[in-house]
Amino acid sequence: MTLDLEDALREGMQRHTSDVVVPPQLFASAERRYRMRRNGTRVLVLSGVVATGVAVGASVAAGPVSAPARHAASRPPLTTAPLETVGYLRARITAAIDGSDAILHSTHKYGDNPVEDRWTDMRTGRYFETWRQPDEHGHQTVYRVSGQDGTLAGIDTKPRTALLSPTQLRDALIHHKITVIGHERLRGRDTVHVKYQSKSPFGVVYVDTWVDAKSDLPLRIVEQLGGPLPDYMQDYRRADTDFYWLPRTPQNVARTTQTVPEQFKHTHGG
């Protein structure tokens, strides 16, 4: 018996797929898979290298199981560890910042010059800030305080470069492409080093942040302006901000409701 191969193949394919029905749950399963990936909640058994978080210099993204992970299947069982995807980190950091009711003490410096000391009530957003502004006499102290609702109620200074509060950092992490550098020690804690780039009126800003691996709260942000800067901005090329998350004791809460000394006057602000 002689058949035309192409006709036989065509008919065979039609026969093979004639009773195909799309399972009703297929779309829902795809959507669930998409949401899990987007939220970074997929948990995989990983190779030792990634499980220990030493993903140095690599953007970590959920994807097909890597070759080392496949080979790991034939090895003795490893500790199951969550994949530190960008999405997973974002979700953790956002939840930690939004859920915090700590008193946040943040210190800020440009270069080697300490300029800012801020106390923030993470529950209400209320803050009290002391800002040391250089002038012709050395330094001028400026206070920046908020109203009860956390909006600016006191003195504001000249526009700054890109100083980030934790909530601003949270928003920035959501809207920028971030890269996970890996785990690093900072102030005796295990942290995850994350970086991204953003823009400012002075050009590109390279932002590095270290997030506590246990609490998912940021401990340090370093912002560096890239490219040429005008002379008056040279001192502002690098800015370091350290965060200290303190318990909600009456003493710490009181730090956020301090009053500006009487000799200072309100000059401008919202």
Partner: protein
């Protein structure tokens, strides 16, 4: 356009075209379960790009599915697995009737290269022209022609049947 509404549009599209796409996926992978998995995986990829896609999603979904099929097959060494799974009885001799032969040809698809299989499915199941296949797979028309020719020859060799290839 809200996320919910957009995905509802994608779901409606699947209700209309899902059967044809799933048929392709089954032919590409060799089994119903693997075909469903492939289509689901391709849909998830499309969801990731959904807000950036303009126009008809079918072309993008199909391209994604074919690329995933060839990558996955190559990456997981499925070809070796398939070779090991196909029993000797799948071979069809001169005495086999036409129906068995057609079934054997489809089963033998698992044994040709991923690119040859993709070309054969696009050509004989989806009835695409050579230029359309080249666009879908991102290769030249010459590559499509040679992959189709080699794929058909391989199918004939595997099945061992008396088949005529038109040139």
């Amino acid at each position: 356009v809200s996320r919910q509404r957009s995905f509802a549009e994608l779901e409606s599209f699947l209700a209309v075209r899902g059967r044809a796409l799933l048929g392709s996926a089954i032919l590409l992978t060799g089994s119903r379960e693997a075909g469903e998995d492939l289509l689901q995986h391709a849909l998830e990829r499309v969801m990731r790009q959904w807000y950036r896609l303009d126009g008809d999603p079918e072309g993008y979904l199909r391209r994604t599915m074919y690329n995933l099929a060839t990558d996955r097959w190559r990456g997981l060494g499925r070809r070796r697995e398939a070779l090991a799974r196909v029993p000797v009885s799948d071979r069809v001799g001169d005495h086999a009737d036409a129906v068995d032969l057609r079934d054997a040809l489809v089963r033998a698809l698992r044994l040709v290269s991923p690119q040859q299989r993709a070309v054969l499915v696009l050509r004989y199941w989806e009835q695409q022209s050579e230029s359309e296949i080249a666009r879908t797979l991102g290769c030249s028309i010459g590559t499509v022609k040679s992959a189709a020719s080699r794929g058909l020859k391989r199918l004939r060799d595997i099945t061992g049947a008396d088949l005529v290839i038109r040139v």
